[in-house]
């Protein structure tokens, strides 16, 4: 095989970075609700696709896809808070939340299929075709937007948890909710807030999915494995974890595809993951 060009190397790196950012964005809410509220929310993927379909629908009646955020974010925030209220009302354990959210996934999937059919949907927008040239490399706007969103949200959550009173209180809840409550932390309110945020992140991820991908209800499950891997590798409840881990997985897969047979890509990235787990004391 001829030596691959630098352009190929650079372009593949970028490609891995961008897909990793999407893993990170999809994983952010999942990781926070799992790590801090002990809710393993399988429905996060279904919510993201619901967000994508809603964006598609709003865009098809003439709304700018980015402007849909103004509707998507509050709607999904309420949805997430409502879901948390339900889980808290029945004090559902982490294990059981898996089952509840799986049921919810099935319902949302059916809802999507009922409204939009199982046939493929593709959002047409002015953004899809915009790309920038940097030297010999190209960067597409939807992907750049995804990366920017993933970075901004992850960093914001990180700063919120680290530097604000509410964020610190949130961390206290994650450590030990009853003790935090005894110290006067508003556990109920903050948990509702965090669940709302996690769900809103799913909505944002949905927007990014709609910008770059063709949608079908069955795709809900296509992201499950790799995003779960990124979430667990990144460390539960750590806001920067899924993004960093997602990028590690994305870039290692992209480089494998660039330089060897693409079909071997999962082997490299997941072997790497196994080695990291076995050798390093903690997570990435």
């Amino acid at each position: 095989m001829a030596l691959p060009s630098l352009t190929l190397l650079g372009q593949s790196l970028l490609s891995g970075l961008f897909i990793g950012a999407l893993y990170g964005l999809l994983g952010l809410g999942l990781s926070l609700s799992w790590g801090m509220l002990r809710q393993i929310n399988l429905a996060h993927f279904a919510l993201a696709f619901l967000g994508a379909y809603l964006t598609y629908q709003l865009a098809s009646v003439g709304m700018d896809p980015l402007a849909t955020l103004a509707l998507i974010v509050p709607f999904f925030f309420s949805l997430g808070a409502l879901m948390h209220w339900l889980l808290a009302r029945f004090s559902v354990s982490a294990f059981n939340s898996l089952l509840v959210s799986f049921g919810l996934t099935a319902i949302i999937e059916a809802l999507i299929q009922w409204i939009w059919t199982a046939d493929f949907r593709r959002m047409e927008s002015g953004y899809g075709e915009v790309k920038f040239r940097v030297g010999s490399l190209y960067v597409a706007l939807p992907e750049l937007f995804t990366l920017a969103m993933a970075l901004a949200l992850s960093l914001l959550v990180w700063a919120w948890l680290r530097h604000t009173y509410a964020g610190k209180a949130m961390r206290a809840i994650a450590e030990d909710a009853p003790i935090a409550a005894a110290f006067g932390v508003d556990v109920r309110g903050l948990s509702l807030l965090l669940s709302g945020l996690c769900s809103a992140f799913a909505g944002v991820a949905g927007l990014c999915l709609a910008l770059s991908y063709t949608l079908a209800p069955g795709q809900i499950y296509a992201w499950l494995g790799v995003v779960f891997a990124a979430v667990m590798l990144g460390g539960l409840g750590r806001p920067l974890g899924p993004l960093v881990a997602g990028i590690v997985i994305g870039v290692s897969e992209a480089l494998t595809m660039a330089f060897t047979a693409p079909a071997w890509a999962p082997l490299v990235s997941f072997s790497l993951l196994i080695v990291v787990l076995l050798v390093r004391p903690g997570r990435i």
Binding site: P4, T7, Q11, G16, D119, T214, A254, M257
Partner: protein, 402 residues
């Protein structure tokens, strides 16, 4: 006359017409029950829906005419949720519990194979349309109605490379990229062989895992390899993902062929212009000269719109689905019996003129001997038109080479 009154009158006339028609030849007696499963939910549901609509249209058409052998037809449809193990058990349910008279195949290779095993055990005839690996069909009473030959890994590459050779600018180098999905993969390997035999330079050969999400690196490798022609062995959305990835790095190969794409999205995708694909049927002459096909197209548009399909034009999937029902009707009528063996015997010695062309079962594995019914189509100005072979090409259409 106001529009409302006019439409009421029209409706009344239509109803009268229907009543008159059914009075002419109303099927009577206990219904003939035809059982099948389709992937109505799960990952294959997008195409499953197409087959459901076509089946409903056909059964209604049958009942409006004389039914089957003068008896009304009832279609017992179950959802196999895109899972082969479920398909197998549901076919057993259809045969041993629901006791249907006849069965029809489900959608896609793995599920059809499951159904075929059951059919074989109960000596039931199985007509199916989307079985991509003929050499696995080892049951004498299975009849593919999808228009494939027994060796699609030879016939389809031959068709495609013939069309390219006859074009204004035949490619000199080729890149074969393919998913490792079984039915797509082996045809792509055939394309690789065919290209070699024709002396085309292989600029790249890449395989990816079905379910791959990141096509950026593959696009970048194609950009580096600069082939004149790219053979994309993609299933469903994979071809779209690859085109998207190539667009993002400002690259499109001069020519690209997609094996089994999801037709709607590929038609609308930016970058999908001039994409080539394989098909058996498109909405233009000579196909639409057939009044049966024209009527089917009308009904399908109507039903598709009602079901909320984003793209309700008739093309390969819906046409082979319709053809498989035509096969069933022709065979039952021809054999004048619901006996599976009699019907199979009739099919063995007769052909059926379906909307996709003349179906025969004289080749290996009951597939068509020699050549298949596939044609090469191209996305020209947002419409799929057949460009090869010439006698099936849309009026005035030629393979556009940039």
């Amino acid at each position: 006359m106001s529009i409302a009154i006019r439409s009421i009158l029209a409706g009344a006339l239509f109803a009268l017409g229907l009543a008159a028609q059914s009075a002419l030849a109303a099927p009577s007696g206990p219904p003939v029950r035809i059982g099948s499963t389709l992937a109505l939910t799960g990952p294959l549901a997008a195409t499953g829906l197409v087959h459901k609509i076509v089946g409903e249209i056909y059964v209604e058409q049958l009942n409006r005419k004389n039914g089957l052998l003068g008896r009304p037809v009832e279609w017992v449809l179950k959802d196999d949720q895109s899972r082969p193990d479920l398909a197998r058990t549901l076919y057993e349910q259809l045969i041993t519990v629901d006791k249907v008279d006849l069965i029809m195949g489900p959608y896609a290779t793995a599920n059809i194979l499951s159904a075929m095993g059951v059919a074989q055990r109960y000596n039931k005839l199985l007509i199916h349309h989307t079985f991509g690996t003929p050499s696995l069909a080892k049951y004498e009473m299975q009849f593919p109605a999808g228009g494939l030959a027994g060796d699609p890994d030879n016939t389809i590459p031959k068709l495609v490379f013939d069309s390219l050779a006859a074009s204004a600018k035949p490619p000199k180098s080729v890149a074969v990229v393919t998913s490792k999905f079984p039915s797509v993969h082996f045809i792509s390997l055939g394309a690789r062989e065919a290209a070699k035999k024709r002396g085309l330079r292989e600029a790249a050969f890449l395989e990816w895992d079905f379910g791959n999400r990141d096509f950026g690196p593959i696009a970048a490798r194609l950009k580096d390899a600069k082939p004149d022609f790219v053979w994309v062995g993609g299933l469903g959305l994979e071809g779209n993902l690859l085109i998207d990835a190539m667009r993002k790095i400002d690259y499109m190969p001069p020519l690209h062929f997609h094996l089994f794409p999801a037709p709607g999205p590929l038609l609308k995708a930016p970058g999908g212009e001039n994409a080539l694909a394989a098909t058996t049927f498109e909405e233009h002459p000579p196909f639409t000269d057939n009044p049966v096909a024209a009527e089917f197209i009308r009904l399908y548009h109507e039903r598709g719109a009602k079901a909320g399909l984003p793209d309700n034009s008739v093309e390969n999937q819906s046409a082979i689905s319709y053809s498989s029902w035509q096969t069933l009707e022709a065979a039952v009528t021809g054999a004048r019996s619901l006996d599976d063996k009699a019907i199979a015997q009739w099919l063995k010695s007769n052909g059926v003129d379906a909307i996709v062309g003349r179906l025969r079962w004289d080749g290996p594995f009951n597939y068509i001997y020699g050549t298949d019914l596939y044609k090469v189509k191209q996305n020209q100005k947002g419409k799929w038109v057949i460009v090869w072979p010439k006698e099936f090409a849309a009026p005035g259409a030629r393979l556009i080479t940039p």
